[in-house]
């Protein structure tokens, strides 16, 4: 008998963390994602699974707690929203530099600066192109439903540990705040130190034992040639992730002459826009990237021959559109339609933009 519950996206993140055997959550309240910390505090998972939950003094402290906990080889996560994620960038680049697994949730709101508390998708560049200093990549998952908010916690940890790389769930205020039915998974027990070592190796700061040299978690190497070698190793890892971990969904694409490319809540709006456009006789499909890094470049390229034009729909000034343009290399017309500052496009707006910018334009 499946276990279903009506939940907010943010609550689903918290519930998934407890059920997937997360060892610790360190966070700081910020709208529109505060329910993650609130739900965890109300659920008291330290009594149930031993999971540590701590409200840090700042986002900077929270991500550095994640850095410390991840260095112990534990499943550790944090969540925040745009201005808070900017503060966390320091810790995120250190975590990437030390090659540690962890999960970071960004429930995006409109910016720049303090901006608004309404939803946006304007942190795409920050999430997929680095964000902090240095050459690094996050594994970025983009949920489009409350169910995916739930499912991607476990998936995010799995990918993070597989590649010893920070993973991010890039959500937004729509998905964080809306309520949907969620199928809950079974409880996975938290891994013991012995299980972690058996599965992932003994690289973590668990206390030096006589059978191994001391473990040092660091991103520092003052010798330039070694630092370059390390960077080359990172880049090789990112290429492997691009090869193996691309995830996307195609809707009504078989006979499509036009294509929407949209992720997250914009993809939900585009689903309706596909129906409305097809009622008008426009053969349009939707390609929804589920991983934003690695990006489904090949999936888009494979459709080039059948397409007359592509419209990306994002709640931003046009960020992901650059990756679509890179994918098609000028062979298909690519335009962007989006709203900003917390405004959400309607399906009719999207169809009108397709007609205006792609079909007529």
């Amino acid at each position: 008998m499946a276990d279903y519950k009506l939940m907010k996206g943010n609550e689903a993140i918290a519930e998934a963390a407890i059920r997937c055997g997360c060892d610790a959550y360190f966070g700081y309240p910020i709208t529109p994602q505060s329910e993650v910390l609130e739900t965890l505090m109300a659920r008291m998972p330290w009594e149930e699974t031993g999971m540590v939950v701590l409200q840090a003094e700042s986002e900077v402290a929270a991500i550095n707690m994640v850095y410390g906990g991840a260095g112990c080889g534990k499943k550790v996560m944090t969540s925040s929203s745009s201005p808070g994620i900017s503060l966390k960038q320091e810790g995120i680049t250190y975590i990437a530099g030390a090659e540690l697994p962890c999960l970071i949730v960004n429930v995006v709101r409109g910016g720049p600066g303090l901006g608004t508390i309404q939803p946006a998708q304007s942190d795409y560049f920050q999430a997929v192109k680095g964000g902090g200093h240095g050459d690094y990549k996050l594994i970025v998952l983009a949920p489009a439903s409350v169910q995916e908010m739930y499912d991607f916690v476990d998936l995010g940890f799995e990918l993070a540990f597989k590649y010893r790389n920070p993973a991010m769930i890039l959500s937004d205020g729509v998905i964080g705040q809306m309520m949907e039915k969620v199928q809950l998974g079974p409880y996975k027990p938290r891994m013991t130190d012995e299980e972690i070592i058996a599965k992932y190796g003994s690289w973590a700061t668990t206390g030096k034992t006589p059978d191994r040299p001391r473990n040092i978690i660091t991103s520092l190497d003052l010798e330039a040639s070694r630092q370059e070698q390390f960077n080359l190793k990172l880049q090789k890892k990112y290429r492997e992730i691009e090869e193996k971990e691309v995830r996307f969904e195609k809707i009504a694409c078989d006979d499509a002459e036009y294509l929407f490319v949209a992720y997250g809540s914009s993809s939900r709006i585009c689903q309706k826009a596909v129906d409305l456009a097809r009622e008008k006789g426009i053969k349009v499909g939707l390609l929804r990237p589920i991983t934003l890094f690695p990006y489904p470049t090949k999936a888009i390229q494979e459709m080039i021959g059948q397409l007359k034009g592509i419209l990306t729909v994002e709640m931003s000034a046009g960020q992901m559109v650059e990756d679509v343009r890179l994918a098609v290399e000028g062979k298909v017309k690519v335009e962007h339609y989006g709203r900003m500052g917390g405004m959400i496009p309607s399906p009719n707006d999207v169809v009108a933009a397709l007609e205006e910018k792609i079909i007529k334009g």
Binding site: N64, Y67, R214, T218
Partner: protein, 253 residues
Amino acid sequence: MDLKDIIKEENLVYSKTKLLTDNIMHYCPGCTHGVVHKVVAEVIDEMNIQEKSIGVAPVGCAVLAYNYIDIDWHEAAHGRAPAVATAISRLYPNKYVFTYQGDGDLASIGTAEIMHACNRGENIVVIFINNGIYGMTGGQMAPTSLLDMPTSTTPYGRKVELNGYPLKITELIAQLPGTCYVTRQAGHTPAAVRKLKKAIRKAFENVGQKKGTSFIEVVSTCNSGWKLSPVKANEWMVEHMFPYYPLGDLKDE
């Protein structure tokens, strides 16, 4: 009597500390870091807690502390060591977690992290090296630089109207209820080193007893940054640093 007849186990009164690695320290001759590293290594060895100890290294001169003491280490970003240590200690409540931080790291960029970790009473040891200057960065003003003290960013000496007052962070820390033991020590004489070792031992024992945060400031020299010989730097510290940063326990509960 030949030398080989003298060098025997039963005649041994001093040897290299077991937990110090064979790596050659990068610290300047006369720097206090070497002394404090040795004392920390001795305490961990004597308490037989090598397997249970996890150090958190700072940014600054001691950034490479992990090269010298044979335990697991986690390097932290500037000022964030208390946050890193918080997580490790919470996930491993039976381990001996300590941070090792300088004055720029702890008293400037990391003031929020140290205040809140101490206020939460995280069950950790904090070792705070205060030499009143930024050593690794090249001798710039620290929050703890004394008034009229010349540094590369206060070439005419630190002035209140430009730079504010030297920060007595340890006095602030001592007021926080999460701390159980707050002390200020030094390492410039054999007697001072013995007192320092006693303090560090007590701090680690406090962790074993889960008493909360133990905080040890070590008033130190930076002869390179101060542009003094090691001997003169010690004399300058005694004459100028100790009056403003007096040695002794501020709190022992």
